[in-house]
Symmetry: C2
């Protein structure tokens, strides 16, 4: 018999009860001292067990309130349809999507000139440290922090499309603005990764322990070379990404 440490027994028992529905999403767990009595363990041991469930993303805690079972509501982003030039959108694709879902979008925005970080330079196929423009969005849905989006444009492109470097929104959307200047994106290369948030990301997205981030890096190509690289950082618990490949012809409307 493989005896588990007591704090794991606590975590396993509570996890089972959560899975069973004994504590449905949004419900409060018994207090630490109650659990301490129930499991005949010290408060610290119970805390270790609860902490396990927190880092698994199952529950969250707040001072003075207690532990609560997390509820998940996910937003699905169809990355293969997003910003499709064949179906041009007016303005920002994100706002459109969120509004269509009956939610209220909100975002803060800033523009920076900076030397391209190494990773970005590799995507844009320019030298590390070369001039680049960063357009940065911090996005909320119904006032919940949802994602951050950093788009980098290579310096050479800015000479052809100077408004990229100007602060403030581009009303018709940057994709449309570039297309109007003869620079159209004919393809994308996407990379999707996941990891735990850095403290900075945890702060911006207001996520605690147990919630990973989903990183979406999209590099847009013109006929000849990369013209932009967009890194979107999502809260992993609230977002999923979809891609359609081949001829699906709307067989997936309800998904």
């Amino acid at each position: 018999m493989n005896k588990q440490p007591k704090y794991r027994q606590v975590a396993d028992a509570l996890r089972r009860e959560i899975d069973n529905g004994a504590y449905p999403p949004g419900a409060r767990l018994p207090s630490e001292s109650e659990l301490s009595a129930r499991f005949a363990a010290s408060r610290n041991t119970v805390r270790s067990g609860l902490n396990l469930l927190v880092t698994e993303g199952l529950i969250s805690s707040s001072q003075g309130l207690g532990y609560e079972v997390r509820s998940h509501e996910v937003f699905k982003l169809n990355a293969s349809r997003f910003e499709n030039l064949s179906f041009p959108q007016n303005g920002d694709a994100y706002s459109t999507d969120v509004t269509n879902a009956g939610r209220r979008p909100h975002q803060t925005f800033r523009v920076e000139m900076l030397p391209a970080p190494e990773e970005i330079a590799a995507w844009l196929k320019v030298e590390a440290g070369a001039k680049a423009v960063l357009r940065f969005c911090h996005r909320y849905v119904d006032d919940v922090p949802w994602s951050t989006q950093a788009t980098y444009y290579p310096g050479w492109l800015v000479e052809q499309a100077p408004r990229l470097a100007e602060p403030g929104d581009i009303a018709e959307g940057t994709t449309r603005y570039l297309a109007d200047h003869g620079i159209s994106q004919i393809g994308y290369f996407d990379e999707i990764a996941t990891r735990m948030p850095t403290p900075e990301e945890a702060r911006l997205l207001e996520i605690g322990a147990g919630v990973p981030v989903l990183l979406w890096t999209r590099t847009g190509y013109s006929d000849e070379k990369p013209i932009r690289c967009t890194i979107t950082t999502f809260r992993g618990d609230l977002n999923r990404m979809n891609y359609e490949i081949g001829d699906l012809a709307g067989r997936n409307e309800d998904l």
Copy 2:
């Protein structure tokens, strides 16, 4: 001044030193008692700080050995080229990919008949609990657990392609086998999500705290309806996914 708790100061100081390269990937951190002296904190406080870094995926620990800075080596899977029927592969696409990368693939395999779980049934557009076949792979690369892959086929399909339900590999590959029986996949619908692993997943993939999983759900469509649903569970620290959209014509060879 916003005073941080001591265990956070410990975590922040060590994180900074790791980021600086003072402790490069693979390096060992000082022992808990050394850190305890350095930070004038009790061993438990130091442990809280170290535990933060563990749940961030930055370091890992093992009994008797100490704490070690994690190193990351990622495998990129091109999901938009994977299993492309225009470029038919002999046998298993996964083994081919891994071998091409100069690594040694290894997998265990099993087949089950079972009632379709609710989520799967939704993808396959059959009733929950309807008969389904599960073909399950547990995959390793150089003996490191890499991913699990569960493919579900609807019961009605098995009547046309009975070998799906037989245990043991299908030498020519299931996609090819189905195509030879007049059932060809004309499109896919992919969904990508991330979360912390369940204890079961953590066991199969041998991941500790601080490493999320990447969930890739691919539903394959024939001309008329879904014919399979594949859920691949990756270690998030070792895998990234790529998609090409539009006409890239090999502009990305080196990525």
